[in-house]
């Protein structure tokens, strides 16, 4: 079930305008963030540790509302949106968390199937996609293993599979290759690229500059001290500023 209205043709998938974020009475950890993300594009979000990347991603995957400014997702204002409408939007977003957030008492197969089950997909329609996804991440043999028995890399692959299995319109990944070897990192990046070609908008937060250079036509946003900064120059910035 999707609760969101279709995006208007040619419109941005994500629009941030003058967004600020603070936790409690402290100073803003994100200030004056403005950008547009176009449908079907690929973005890297970089910046030093503590720059606010994870906080920015949290707003993208609807775990946090901004303290000020305007955030529009799929053409709708999220700041004023009643919370009962959020699940419909969240089902259109896939998230790869830095700490994986797998449910420890569910098998790898059940973790991957979770978004589809939540969306109400019947068990008979789950087996195929979940099996394919397990094969693709190379974990067929470990489908019934529980996360605590999986290595960090395996957990990360399960987390990625869970994020993409429902074919989200927007994929948000926070350091998705941080725990895997370079070969697996490239395979995972290949998956993101393939999804991107199928129309998914991808936002990847990473420190890995080599990763960034591997994706053609990727655009970069760089965060420094809570503000969007000029990039190194290797990639375009800002991405299609409105």
């Amino acid at each position: 079930m999707t609760d969101a209205a279709p995006m208007r043709p040619g419109g941005a998938m994500v629009e941030f305008s003058g967004v600020g974020l603070r936790y409690g009475p402290d100073a803003e950890i994100l200030s004056d963030i403005s950008f547009n993300l176009q449908p079907g594009s690929f973005y890297f979000l970089t910046g030093p540790s503590g720059a606010g990347k994870t906080s920015l991603l949290k707003m993208l995957y609807l775990a946090q509302r901004p303290s000020r400014g305007i955030v529009r997702l799929f053409g709708e204002d999220l700041v004023a949106m009643p919370r009962h409408r959020l699940p419909g939007f969240r089902r259109r977003i896939g998230v790869v968390f830095q700490d994986f957030r797998l449910i420890p008492h569910l098998s790898a197969r059940d973790n991957i199937a979770l978004p589809l089950r939540i969306a109400g997909v019947g068990e008979e329609d789950l087996a195929g996609p979940v099996g394919e996804m397990l094969s693709w991440i190379g974990l067929d043999e470990r489908a019934e293993a529980f996360p605590p028995t999986l290595s960090g890399g395996e957990q990360q692959r399960v987390a990625i599979a869970r994020a993409v299995i429902a074919r989200p319109q927007l994929l948000v990944a926070d350091e998705p290759t941080g725990n895997v070897d370079p070969d697996m990192a490239m395979r995972l990046l290949g998956l993101f690229e393939a999804l991107n070609r199928l129309g998914t908008t991808v936002v990847v937060a990473t420190h890995d500059i080599h990763l960034i250079s591997r994706i053609e036509n990727a655009q970069m946003m760089r965060l420094e001290k809570g503000r969007l900064a000029d990039p190194t120059g290797a990639l375009r910035y800002p991405p299609n500023r409105a």
Partner: protein, 301 residues
């Protein structure tokens, strides 16, 4: 539905740790106490009503004329006159042997044949039951009748001396009812604490479920089902123990055939209430859990 239906695959979202926490056991104890208090309340209320009905329209006329022959004649005349009066349902002279047998218990004579007891100038007693209706009018008419047939006799309404006892029993019944209410509130509080603790324990899972698009209802149903089942186990256990205790008390009570104790029984309505209480408790637990969970989930984004 008291225990919501949740697909098997969704049930696995919560680890299977049934009966591992204190909740079912606390609920079992509270349920047992609730049922015992409810049974006591129903029994006492019925007893108070029975006593009230019995004493409301009954008086005893005590004839204390010194001459035993005159006393007996006055008693007989009063019984006859009262028996014929339209406001009287029944009139009965209490036999001297009956009085002696009753007093014999205090004189250590089972047969009432103690010589001291036999020498006592016992009053003549006439028990009179009024017909239902105007009790004040009946009392006034009886006073006239007594003045005519047995001058100087004293009319003792039973309500005068048993009334406070009935009132005390009624008060105890209300206290028992209050205890049932308090224990229902305590049970609800236990469920609220359980629901909040469950939310705290499974916060990471809940946050994850929210972020992949689960609705509050979907999440609440998972926990509501688990809490309802856990409390149902506790309620069943508490009900079984309470039933065993009540049956034991009932068995012992069945030997009591005299006095106020004989008026205490549960009756069909009382048993129906006791049977309904566990079901009401499960419904209360499920509803409390649901409201607590939804209220807590609303505080999350």
């Amino acid at each position: 539905m008291i225990i919501p239906r949740v697909p098997v695959q969704h049930r696995r979202l919560l680890p299977d740790r049934r009966l591992s926490g204190p909740t079912p056991w606390i609920i079992a104890i509270l349920m047992m106490l609730t049922l015992l208090a409810a049974a006591a309340g129903v029994g006492l209320a019925r007893s108070a009503n029975a006593i009230g009905d019995a004493i409301a329209g009954r008086v005893t006329v005590q004839i204390v004329t010194a001459n035993p022959v005159t006393r007996a004649e006055q008693a007989a005349a009063l019984r006859r006159a009262a028996g014929a009066a339209p406001f009287v349902r029944a009139a009965r002279a209490v036999e001297r042997e009956e009085l002696q047998a009753m007093l014999g218990q205090w004189f250590g004579s089972a047969e009432g044949d103690d010589p001291v007891l036999a020498s006592l100038p016992l009053p003549a007693l006439v028990d009179i039951d009024f017909v239902d209706g105007d009790r004040a009018g009946a009392m006034a008419a009886l006073e006239t009748l007594v003045a005519r047939e047995a001058p100087g006799a004293r009319i003792i309404p039973h309500a005068e001396w048993l009334g406070p006892v009935a009132q005390l029993i009624r008060s105890l019944a209300w206290i028992a009812g209050g205890l049932v209410l308090l224990m229902a509130l305590a049970s609800a509080a236990v469920v609220i604490m359980t629901a909040r603790a469950a939310l705290g324990t499974h916060f990471a899972t809940i946050e994850m479920l929210h972020l992949i698009g689960a609705t509050d209802r979907q999440i609440a149903r998972l926990f509501q089902r688990r809490i309802a089942i856990d409390t149902a186990y506790g309620i069943a256990l508490g009900s079984l123990v309470a039933a065993a205790i009540l049956l034991l008390i009932g068995w012992q009570w069945s030997g009591v055939t005299a006095g106020l104790a004989a008026t205490a029984s549960l009756g069909p309505a009382g048993w129906a209430l006791l049977l309904a209480l566990p079901l009401l408790a499960i419904a209360l637990a499920a509803l409390t859990a649901r409201q607590t969970l939804l209220a807590a989930l609303k505080k999350m984004l």
